[in-house]
């Protein structure tokens, strides 16, 4: 195990409780992820998976403990700095409805660069934003005819792959995916996972993947199990 300093993600005695609740929704004593590690977060509905992702994304702040991402203690950042940190270093994929209906496929992908000069810079070092977005979409096997299309023309599976492209453009260090496959059928799901891993590996980014589908756990090196009202068990 690598030292905590060099971890990409590092949680220490983190507690989070929603107002009015009697027990902690998230309680994680220790969690360290190195660059390129893939973590599978499992748990029943209501076990706090999304809440944990919100903590990692800097949307919520823990009631106790410390969350360090890329050696930055999130609690030292102001809310708007945390938003900027998320824009610069994190990509997010949701279960569904990842795309803004009023933007085209391509615009949805390049949207990430709108809020992050860093991502934009990293893209434009090699090519222009649109070209990079197209390459990513093609790598995620989205045919060119869909690149300029309005998103309602896309199937759910295609939309999820566009969401991955958006999350990965500009090379964020961390990718957070919240049940991205739960709206997909088995075929689409396997294809999605295959492409996701391919791109995540290509970029070497740290993946935190939430799902209640235990079948998927086998593809991951590490698993974190969340249970309602209990401390999380981390196994690897």
């Amino acid at each position: 195990m690598t030292g905590p300093d060099r971890s990409v993600v590092s949680l220490d005695q983190v507690r989070f409780r929603w107002p009015g609740q009697t027990s902690d929704t998230v309680a994680i004593d220790e969690l360290h992820l190195d660059a390129g590690e893939h973590l599978f977060v499992r748990g029943a509905s209501g076990s706090g998976k999304t809440t944990l992702l919100n903590l990692l994304a800097g949307i919520h702040t823990p009631s106790q403990g410390q969350i360090r991402l890329l050696e930055t203690d999130l609690s030292t950042l102001s809310p708007s700095k945390r938003d900027q940190f998320r824009a610069d270093h994190i990509g997010v994929v949701f279960q569904q409805f990842n795309l803004l209906p009023y933007l085209t496929t391509l615009e949805n992908v390049t949207l990430s660069c709108a809020f992050s000069d860093r991502k934009k810079q990293r893209v434009t070092d090699s090519a222009d934003v649109t070209t990079t977005a197209r390459q990513l979409l093609s790598a995620l096997s989205l045919a060119e005819e869909f690149h300029g299309a309005p998103v309602h023309k896309l199937s759910v599976g295609q939309q999820q792959r566009v969401a991955v492209a958006r999350a990965l453009i500009g090379g964020p260090e961390i990718l957070i995916a919240d049940e991205p496959t739960s709206a997909l059928d088995a075929d689409n799901r396997d294809r999605f996972m295959e492409l996701l891993f391919q791109e995540v590996e290509a970029q070497g980014c740290t993946l935190i993947f939430v799902s209640h589908d235990p079948q998927l756990a086998t593809s991951f090196s590490r698993t974190l199990e969340l249970t309602v009202g209990e401390e999380a068990r981390s196994e690897w």
Binding site: T50, T51, L53, N54, A57, I59, H60, P79, S80, D83, Q84, R86, A87, D88, V92, F94, Q95, Q96, F97, N98, L99, L100, P101, Y102, L103, E107, T110, L111, S112, C113, A114, F115, S116, R166, I176, D178
Partner: protein
């Protein structure tokens, strides 16, 4: 892609409901600016109609009524002034000049005014401007006429044309003095006053067309123009007259003397005072219109509020997406504000366009009906101020959904409530 472009695309996506809001706001902007425009134009136009005339004299009536028919050619005199009384007053020592006004006939919707050539010498408008002839000359003979600029323009008349005068103000053929045509001998330069819309003839001309008329209808015996000229064409009465005094300081004294004349009840008014008073009266009407327009605006803004609020639920997912790519909660508020600004700016632009469209279309009607010349000039400070208020009001209103969205985006975070 910046926030403005995102807001623009989002607004385009919701264009059906937003367009309705744009139209509502446009209507209130048109109303507000229109009321303001008409108020200003009528004020300037009103106060500039008469200059250097000390008194206007007519049969006893309210000052504003006398002013309306004598200066604006709106409405009619209830009574005339007898020629003798007119002569008496004109002969007073204090009186420097008089200009008689005889109304009652019309030509294709334009009022005909019988007067003397003193009219061209003494009547002044605006800032002490006298009437100037654009072409031709003053009338001399009885059947000659000098046209105001609008009359000539609208009807396409030139010096040398012949026109028929109708009896009364409505255009009905049987009441036309078609047996006695008038020759256009002169056309006046534009003044921006009711003069532009007036057909001027001599008092004799007015008498001549009426010699064979009795009590408003044609008598059995019809006379030709030549025959009519054989009669004594000194009028028995006129509608009103303008008075210039030797000494301004005597205005009130002369006014009192005229009001006290026993032979027939007379009224003498100070045009500038009556104009100002008149303005105060109608400006309250305009203030009421302004307030009503204000309510229309409030209704429009509330409509906009409803529209934006109704989109907040569907926006919830979009907001989570934006937050996920790094948008701050304040960006969410900004997006809603920018979208509102787009809507309200479009509303203002459309409102101004509608205003100018309406002005262009209704200019002639407003001028002929109300004697007010509304020019399509640029927007002035007040009107820009009105629009700034509309925009500011919209932004304030949009803060409500903005604030709701802000609260929710902090609560929801990246949780997508499907």
């Amino acid at each position: 892609m910046n926030l403005i472009r995102i807001a623009w695309k989002s607004a385009r996506f919701r264009r059906t409901s937003l367009l309705l809001t744009v139209f509502t706001i446009a209507i209130s902007v048109t109303l507000l600016l229109g009321v303001d425009k008409i108020r200003k134009e009528s004020r300037t136009s009103l106060l500039n109609t008469v200059s250097q005339t000390d008194l206007i004299v007519g049969a006893r009536s309210s000052p504003s009524n006398l002013l309306l028919y004598s200066v604006f050619r709106i409405g009619n005199a209830t009574n005339n002034v007898s020629w003798e009384t007119y002569q008496d007053i004109a002969a007073m020592d204090e009186v420097a000049w008089t200009v008689p006004i005889s109304l009652g006939d019309s030509h294709r919707g334009f009022r005909v005014m019988g007067t003397s050539t003193d009219y061209f010498d003494f009547y002044m408008y605006g800032n002490k401007q006298s009437l100037e002839l654009e072409s031709g000359d003053r009338f001399d003979g009885a059947f000659e006429t000098v046209l105001g600029a609008d009359v000539a323009d609208d009807l396409g008349y030139e010096v040398g044309d012949e026109i028929i005068i109708s009896h009364g103000l409505v255009e009905v053929d049987f009441a036309a003095h078609d047996d006695k045509p008038f020759t256009v001998v002169g056309i006046l330069e534009r003044t921006g006053t009711p003069v532009d819309r007036t057909v001027h003839t001599s008092l004799e001309g007015i008498e001549a067309v009426h010699v064979d008329w009795q009590n408003g209808s044609r008598s059995a015996l019809t006379l030709t123009a030549e025959q009519a000229l054989q009669f004594d064409l000194t009028p028995t009465s006129i509608t009103a007259f303008m008075v210039g005094l030797e000494n301004r300081a005597q205005t009130f004294q002369v006014q009192r003397e005229i009001n006290d004349i026993q032979r027939e009840p007379m009224s003498a008014i100070l045009p500038s005072a009556t104009l100002s008073e008149f303005w105060r009266t109608i400006s309250t009407v305009e203030q009421v219109m302004f307030v009503i327009s204000g309510f229309v605006l409030v209704a429009g803004l509330l409509g906009m509020l409803t529209t934006i609020l109704s989109t907040l639920n569907e926006r919830r997912r979009e907001i989570a997406v934006l937050r996920a790519v790094g948008a701050r909660a304040s960006h969410v508020v900004l997006l809603i504000l920018i979208e509102t600004l787009l809507v309200v700016t479009a509303g203002c632009v459309l409102g101004v366009a509608k205003l100018y469209g309406l002005l262009a279309a209704a200019r002639g009607t407003i001028a002929s009906r109300f004697g007010v010349n509304v020019a399509a000039t640029g927007l002035d400070a007040t009107q820009l101020g009105i629009m700034a208020c509309v925009i500011l009001g919209a932004v304030l209103v949009a803060l409500i959904p903005g604030f709701i969205a802000y609260r929710r985006s902090i609560q929801d975070g990246l949780a997508l409530k499907v």
